[in-house]
């Protein structure tokens, strides 16, 4: 049953305003696939009322542990700083459809923006232990050096790794999508995997369409149920001018061709 309680074993600040959570949760540690998420209840009361979705950043099935990376952006995530080790969370998961893995011996280009790195770390981890022989090249962008959160965890699982920051405080100065454009131009990526802020994903999708490289993205949308029942997490589908898909069920990982990018809210 995709439902579990998870004990907070360890919480650490991964960067200002970002927490890395290590949870004991045998069921999810055993079952989760890269790109899936959990739907976490952050309070037993009404504040916040709804669960909050978070990508799974890593699993350690033998140790029965999972890792989440949470950026504090509002009232719900703000509570995490007050939760002591030993806190027991009620969570649903693993939920959603994760990344479709590359074929053997392909070169996969992973593009992460900020906290969007979480599901890509899980992907890189899975690829690094798989026998697919995939070459993993990753690009990680953020506003500043500090916001390149968990970059060592990410870098350590990739064959090649490049960072970009908007203020130039680490790696190249500029947007990660500018680096991506160059990489695609170079032409040796077989497929792209991306997660990050909405604006970045729009640009990644546009570039991959331009260079005709298959691309998957992990999307975000406000959720209520997380299990496909409320139809709250809709994003515009490429299936038709009025169609929608659910991030929680058909996603969060989509092929960029599944999404009607022109109908995304700016």
């Amino acid at each position: 049953m995709p439902r579990a309680v998870a004990e907070l074993l360890h919480r650490e600040q991964a960067a200002p305003g970002h927490y890395l959570l290590q949870l004991r949760c045998p069921e999810i540690a055993a079952d989760a696939k890269p790109g899936q998420f959990v739907h976490l209840r952050l309070s037993e009361g009404l504040e916040p009322l709804l669960r909050r979705p978070f990508s799974i950043m890593r699993t350690e099935p033998r140790e029965e542990r999972i890792w989440l990376l949470v950026q504090v952006v509002g009232s719900g995530t703000g509570l995490i700083a007050t939760h002591d080790e030993g806190t027991v969370y009620d969570l649903l998961g693993p939920l959603g459809r994760g990344w479709r893995l590359p074929r053997a011996n392909e070169t996969a280009l992973l593009v992460a923006g900020g906290v969007g790195v979480a599901p890509l770390i899980f992907l890189a981890d899975a690829l690094s232990v798989s026998d697919l022989g995939v070459y993993v090249r990753s690009l990680f962008g953020a506003a500043t050096n500090e916001a390149l959160v968990c970059w060592t965890e990410f870098a350590g699982r990739c064959n090649e790794f490049t960072t970009a920051t908007e203020d130039g405080s680490a790696g190249e100065q500029g947007l990660v999508t500018e680096v991506l454009a160059r990489e695609l131009e170079r032409g040796d990526a077989d497929r792209v995997y991306a997660c990050g802020p909405p604006g970045m994903l729009v640009e990644v999708a546009r570039l991959c369409a331009e260079y005709d490289v298959p691309c998957q993205v992990s999307m975000e949308q406000w959720m209520a149920c997380g299990v496909g029942a409320c139809l709250g997490c809709a994003v515009p589908s490429a299936k038709g001018p009025q169609e929608y898909v659910r991030v929680c069920t058909e996603g969060p990982v989509f092929d960029t061709t599944e999404i009607a990018w022109d109908r995304m809210r700016p």
């Binding site: 049953m1 995709p2 439902r3 209840r41 009404l46 504040e47 916040p48 009322l49 709804l50 669960r51 009620d90 649903l92 949308q221 406000w222 959720m223 209520a224 149920c225 997380g226 299990v227 496909g228 029942a229 409320c230 139809l231 709250g232 997490c233 809709a234 994003v235 515009p236 038709g240 009025q242 169609e243 929608y244 109908r263 809210r265």
Partner: protein, 308 residues
């Protein structure tokens, strides 16, 4: 079950329910989505998401947003249409072995009549719940549910056609909910559901735009419970029909507020998103309350408010 086990069954519009707790329309999908999280066969009834004649795409996202002790939604009437509903959604729903109440919606009276014709005869449909909180395209978009005459005409037309009991789901966005209830009763409704969501809106002040893609949406959850309880109370004083109370029910205590002011059954909506097993927890909590207070039948609690 021991001799002291309270009897949770209730009768409503000719339906015999094992207990008074249903899912609220639109918050429980078509039943199957929540099947991994609870034993759906324990529910008093399952109420489906709204079904319309043709498939509907729904509203532009974002569609949900949390508000203090509540949430706004503007799902719109996204659904696969009545034929796909009957072909694909109804068969697995029937498997739960509990009464299935199909929530229906439309833009003209004729839509509802055709839905009632088709659905009330479909195998496994126990009753129809008529969502009148929707605009009528024949009357300049006036909401069916905010005009007693329009409500009466709509309900009469459905009641005439339907082979199954007709439950009318009222909108709370009215000056006088009793007037609407009386209109529905006189037009032949077998029961009333109340309340649907309150019309609301919230703003992202940094981006200076509404949170919802559709600008406004329906407010649900604990925040609205006091309004919902008041409306059930008012209607229970004036109308003879059985009532299904809903609006912010999270626990058995909350459900009891509605039952004590006169609801025969209750719907659990937003709470499912918070805790998928909310319905069964409410059922268990009602049994516990009955045991603790020595109440043999939950039906004895309906309207059992003291000193008002």
């Amino acid at each position: 079950m021991s001799a002291m086990e309270p009897d949770l069954s209730v009768e409503l519009a000719g339906l015999k329910l094992a207990n008074p707790v249903m899912s609220a329309s639109g918050t429980f999908g078509y039943g199957t989505e929540y099947a991994p999280y609870l034993d759906c066969s324990r529910l008093g009834a399952i109420v489906t998401k709204a079904v319309t004649l043709e498939a509907r795409a729904g509203n532009p996202p974002p569609r949900v947003r949390e508000t203090p002790a509540g949430m706004l939604n503007s799902i719109g009437l996204q659904n696969p249409g009545v034929e796909a509903f009957i072909a694909e959604k109804l068969p697995p729903l029937r498997e739960f072995g509990v009464p299935i109440i199909v929530n229906i919606s439309g833009q003209r009276i004729e839509d509802f009549v055709r839905l009632a014709e088709r659905l009330s005869q479909a195998d496994g449909v126990s009753a129809l719940e008529v969502n009148i909180s929707c605009p009528n395209v024949e009357h300049e978009g006036m909401f069916f549910g905010t005009d007693p005459e329009l409500t009466a005409r709509l309900v009469a037309a459905i009641a005439e056609t339907s082979a199954a009991p007709v439950i009318v789901k009222l909108s709370p966005n009215v000056t006088d909910i009793v007037e609407m209830s009386v209109a529905a009763q006189q037009a032949g409704a077998d029961a009333l559901s109340l309340i649907n969501t309150l019309l609301g809106m919230s703003i992202d002040v940094e981006a200076r735009r509404p949170h919802l893609g559709n600008v406004t949406g329906g407010l649900s959850g604990p925040a609205i419970r006091p309004v919902a309880v008041r409306m059930v109370y008012e209607v229970a004083q004036e109308v003879d029909l059985p009532l299904i109370g809903m609006g912010g029910i999270m626990t058995a205590r909350d459900a009891l507020e509605f039952i004590l002011v006169g609801a025969t059954a209750v719907g659990v909506g937003t709470a499912n998103f918070v805790e998928p097993a909310s319905t069964v927890r409410v059922i268990d909590g009602l049994a516990e309350y009955c045991r603790r207070h020595g109440v043999p039948r939950v039906a004895d609690l309906v309207g059992a408010l003291e000193g008002t």
